[in-house]
Amino acid sequence: MTALAAFYERMFFIRRFEESLLDLFSLGKLVGTTHTYIGQEANAVGVIEHLDPDRDVVFSNHRCHGHYLAFMDDAFGLLCEVMGKAPGVCGGKGGSQHLCKGNFYSNGVLGSIVPVATGIALAEKKKGTGAVSTVFLGDGTLGEGVTYESLNIASLWQLPVLFVVENNYYAQSTPVELGLAGSIAARGAAFGVETAELDTTDVDMIHEAAGRAISRIRETSAPYFLVLNTYRFSPHSKSDDQRDPAEIEERRTRDPLLVAGARLADDERSAIEARCEERLAETVEAAEAAPAAAPRVAA
């Protein structure tokens, strides 16, 4: 299988996993909340391809399913977690936004995760593991001051942190122009952090740029600030979307699945999609059959 076909398979699976979550919600089989990644899949897949789950660390945010699937390849553990089932990665305690497995972590307060990822980078640097600590943030997180404190510290102490800013142009319902002054990329540069900015949904281009960033971090052990301008087609959460449908439709012409899929032969693409559908159906069936998380009985 070509690299592109592999990327397509991961992206397609993430897409269908998230769509299934929304379906399960409407069927009343999920409660709580979820923040889907639909439209942004190329970022997770392109960046995480360069990371080693046995060595590197990923810290993600409330919109973490795509990152988790790309890094851990554990759809059953994630689905059970979101569905409140006992085999969930955190036994149902974390739910959608609070995941932990191996070297993957996520947490639900914007900004909060950035210093923790910075501290992880310091620990790994001191241990000499060569790990890169990658933290995924969004344009909304740039409103949190602790992000800048952490950029300063990462640069000052030359820590191997990859800051990935996925700018999807909306903080929940608020458009970026109402929440953010100045330039996003300049925020990294202001702290003396090497910075790159991409305006694409092409997984190959994101993969290439992330490769350069991560190679630089591995060579220098210094942080890197990677801005990926992107778009989410789905609502912030489930049904909270006030955006102009025409804007979303226009963006859908640059759907990362269309961009990558157009480069695959039809039969190859169909085979990948069928494989993903089958795997997803098996995952949903197994998760539905799994027992609910049970409260620990007090001793």
Binding site: G119, L122, V146, E149, I153
Partner: protein, 343 residues
């Protein structure tokens, strides 16, 4: 002169840190202005940056981030100690405490531990004013899954700090600004001064003081940290001037609250006063009063009395600060109020 000459508390804490650094390679120190020769605003960390330059980080003024950096270190198997220069500044880091440090272990289903220590001095009586004098530990007391330890001049400070670093969970280690310069007074032959002392077990013990050798007494006063010498002075005054004998329980573990020493003492005395330097409402004393009335109602002959700071700011002028903070007279008055109820 005995071989174990008493030392000032700041020196005891400093020596403990040196021993911890010498014995463990996974301990790191973060704080503002902690590099030698300055060695930290209160000099607790003196000599560490010269001795262990690779493990001591003088930091930007970024408390909010530093709590998270320490959390990240701890998640990855290190044992960071974070010095917050003034206890008032923990407010800047509370998001990390509430939404990360205290939650990671349980919400990640016990896949991780967060063994970090936050050391910080609390307390007033130095004229530092409203934002550098507070005793804010009560803000931490209701947070599940963290341990709050308060050092006092009568506790084994080195052991307390060593246990905090060896603890597998997050520990807030509350010091006191006036304590630093005072002698670390440990029991000798079961006594500190004229009072008999018993020490409970566990990593963060409670000390119980008695002027009647643990026979009957008039009341129990439970306290901690910088209020310990004030309460002991009040107890001496009550004995000498009023012939009233009280027991004192000086806790070091404030949260999770373990009050066995208090229940035992109240079983002998039948009355309780709580004494803290933080503001009154929703504080240490309120929680203890709630627990003691539920656990020991039949032992109590009077309502629990609370001594605390007034609910307001701590003014800078010493005359105003003195009026704000709980004093020896306030403790004596609270004990006397118990007597009033009885008579």
């Amino acid at each position: 002169m005995s071989a174990n000459q008493p030392k000032r508390c700041v020196q005891v804490l400093n020596e403990a840190l040196h021993e911890i650094f010498a014995s463990r390679g996974d301990v790191y120190l973060f704080g503002e202005d902690i590099l030698d020769p300055y060695g930290g605003a209160f000099k607790v960390t003196q000599g560490l940056s010269d001795g262990y330059p690779d493990r001591v980080f003088t930091t930007p003024i970024s408390e909010a981030s530093l709590f998270g950096v320490a959390a990240g270190m701890a998640l990855r198997g290190q044992r960071p100690i974070l010095e917050i220069m003034f206890g008032d500044f923990i407010a800047l880091g509370l998001d990390q405490v509430v939404n990360g440090i205290s939650k990671f272990r349980e919400m990640y289903d016990d896949q991780v531990t967060v063994p970090l220590v936050v050391r910080t001095p609390m307390g007033g009586r130095r004229g530092y004013g409203p934002t550098h004098s507070q005793s804010l530990e009560k803000l931490l007391l209701g947070i599940p899954n963290i341990c709050v330890v308060a050092a006092s001049e009568c506790h084994d400070l080195g052991a307390l700090l060593t246990h905090a670093v060896e603890d597998d969970g997050p520990v807030f280690f509350i010091e006191n600004k006036l304590m630093y310069g005072r002698m670390n007074r440990r029991p000798e032959d079961g006594h500190i001064g004229e009072l008999a002392v018993r020490e409970s077990g566990g990593p963060y013990p409670a000390l119980t003081f008695s002027g009647t050798d643990f026979t009957e007494a008039f009341a129990t006063i439970v306290t901690y940290g910088g209020m310990v010498p004030i309460v002991l002075e009040a107890v001496t005054e009550l004995i000498l001037e009023h012939e009233i004998f009280c027991e004192v329980v000086a806790l070091s573990q404030l949260s999770p609250m373990e009050l066995d020493a208090v229940y035992e003492s109240v079983g002998r005395t039948g009355a309780l006063v709580t004494a803290e330097e933080g503001t009154l409402t929703g504080g240490f004393g309120a929680e203890i009063a709630a627990r003691v009335q539920a656990a020991a109602w039949s032992d109590l002959r009077a309502p629990v009395q609370r001594v605390a700071a007034r609910d307001g700011i701590i003014p800078s002028a010493r005359s105003l600060e003195d009026a704000m903070l709980p004093s020896v007279d306030d403790v004596v008055a609270a004990v006397s109020a118990l007597e009033g109820v009885r008579s």
